[in-house]
C-alpha cells in the first residue's frame, strides 16, 4: 500500500523452549505505516515472536532486522512494546506510573499525555490498584502512545477487558497512529470487533504462519470477514 522502506524483516526465525517449539521458521517483511494483526490462539507463538523482535527473548535461529539493523540497544529504543502481563506498580497513582515510565525514554512526548488521559477517561490521581483490567489496559496503551517510537508492538491489548474499554482502545489507536512515521503490530486471539484496525493479518498456528495477507484482499478473495476466516482456520 503506502510502502516505502521496510521496518521489519524476519527470516526463518526459530525458537525452542524446553518443552515446546514456539517458532518453527517465521518469515515476515513489514513496510512502514501499516498496522498488522498477529492472530492466533493462545500458545501459537505470538508473544514469543513479539518478544524476539523487541529483544526480550533470544531466538535459536534465523534473523531479525529492524530498520535495516540487527537487534541492539539502538533498535530496542525504537520499539514501544506493551506486554500482556501486568507491568505497572499497583501502589503508584496513574500520574506516578506515567512519570516513572517517561524517565526510561528519550522519545517521550509529555505534551500528548493530558489529551491521551482525557480521551481514555483516566483520572491521573487514581491508584493503579483501584483500576479495572480494562482501565489498566487503557493506561498501558497511553504509556506506549506517549512515545514517538516508530515501531509499536502491542501484545494482546484486548484480552479479557470490557467492551467499552476495547472500543476506546480501538478508537485511540485509530486516532493516534501516525502512518507517516509509525508501524504497529497487535497480537490478539479475539479478532471480532478489532479486525477493522488491521491493514494486514498474519495467522500464526503452532509456530508457523498458515495464512497471511492484506485484510481487504482476503475479504475480497474469500468473501468472508477476517473473524470468520480465523474461526475456520482455527476450528
Amino acid at each position: 500500500m503506502t510502502t516505502t522502506n521496510q521496518v521489519l524483516v524476519v527470516r526463518n526465525l526459530r525458537k525452542k523452549y524446553p518443552k515446546v517449539e514456539a517458532l518453527k521458521g517465521i518469515d515476515l517483511t513489514m513496510p512502514q505505516g501499516e498496522i498488522w494483526g498477529l492472530l492466533g490462539p493462545n500458545g501459537s507463538g505470538k508473544s514469543t515472536l513479539l518478544k524476539c523482535i523487541v529483544g526480550l527473548v533470544n531466538p535459536d535461529g534465523g534473523d531479525i532486522e529492524i530498520f535495516g539493523h540487527s537487534r541492539s540497544r539502538h533498535t530496542k529504543a525504537q520499539i514501544a512494546f506493551v506486554p500482556e502481563v501486568e507491568n505497572l506498580y499497583r501502589w503508584m497513582t496513574i500520574r506516578q506510573a506515567i512519570d516513572f515510565t517517561s524517565t526510561f525514554y528519550d522519545d517521550w512526548e509529555e505534551e500528548r499525555v493530558p489529551g491521551l488521559l482525557a480521551f481514555m477517561g483516566l483520572d491521573p490521581s487514581k491508584k493503579v490498584s483501584s483500576l479495572s483490567k480494562g482501565m489498566r489496559a487503557r493506561l498501558k496503551l497511553i504509556l506506549a502512545l506517549a512515545r514517538k517510537a516508530p515501531l509499536l508492538l502491542l501484545d494482546e491489548p484486548f484480552s479479557g477487558i470490557d467492551p467499552a474499554s476495547r472500543d476506546r482502545i480501538v478508537e485511540g489507536i485509530v486516532r493516534q497512529f501516525k502512518s507517516e512515521e509509525q508501524t504497529m503490530i497487535i497480537s490478539t486471539h479475539a479478532v471480532g470487533d478489532t479486525e477493522q484496525l488491521f491493514d494486514a493479518v498474519v495467522f500464526l498456528d503452532e509456530g508457523t504462519i498458515n495464512l497471511q495477507g492484506y485484510a481487504e484482499d482476503l475479504r475480497h478473495q474469500y468473501g468472508k470477514s477476517i473473524n470468520d476466516l480465523f474461526k475456520e482456520v482455527f476450528a
Binding site: G33, S179, Q196, E216, H220, S225
Partner: protein, 130 residues
C-alpha cells in the same frame, strides 16, 4: 457519518458506497465538505489507510476532490451525481432482474407487480408519515 460495516466485503468499498448513497439522496450536496480522512477513520473506527484508499478511489471516480490545505469536497459536477444515481439504480435493478429470472417469472407479470407495489408502498408510507 455512521456506517454499519459488514466485515465480509472490503471496507473501503463500503465507505465508497455510503458516500455514493449520500450524494444520490442529497444528504451530501455538490461542494459540501466531507470529513477529513483522519476524522472519518476515528468516527467509524477503521484503519486510516483503509479510509485513505476509499478517498483516493473516490477522487479517481470524480466523486470528491481534495483542495490542498482546505480539505475534501463533494465534486461540483452535477453530471457525476446523475451518473452515480444511474449506476446505483442499474445495480439494484440488475440484482432484481436476475432474482426474478432465477425464479422463472415473465417480464410482463413482473412489471405489473412492480407498478402496483410502487403505488401501494408509496401510499402506505404517506399514511405512516401523517
Amino acid at each position: 457519518m455512521k456506517i454499519d460495516f459488514s466485515t465480509s466485503t472490503p471496507i473501503y468499498l463500503q465507505i465508497i458506497e455510503e458516500f455514493k448513497r449520500q450524494i444520490v439522496t442529497g444528504q451530501l450536496q455538490p461542494g459540501d465538505k466531507v470529513p477529513s480522512q483522519r476524522d472519518l477513520a476515528a468516527q467509524v473506527k477503521v484503519n486510516a489507510n483503509t479510509v485513505q484508499r476509499a478517498y483516493r478511489e473516490m477522487e479517481i471516480l470524480g466523486l470528491v476532490e481534495t483542495l490542498r490545505g482546505q480539505g475534501t469536497f463533494v465534486c461540483q459536477n452535477q453530471g457525476v451525481v446523475e451518473e452515480t444515481r444511474k449506476e446505483m439504480l442499474t445495480n439494484l435493478v440488475d440484482e432484481f432482474v436476475r432474482a426474478v429470472q432465477a425464479l422463472g417469472l415473465s417480464e410482463e407479470a413482473t412489471l405489473d407487480v412492480v407498478k402496483t407495489r410502487f403505488s401501494e408502498i408509496d401510499s402506505k408510507e404517506e399514511v405512516n408519515n401523517k
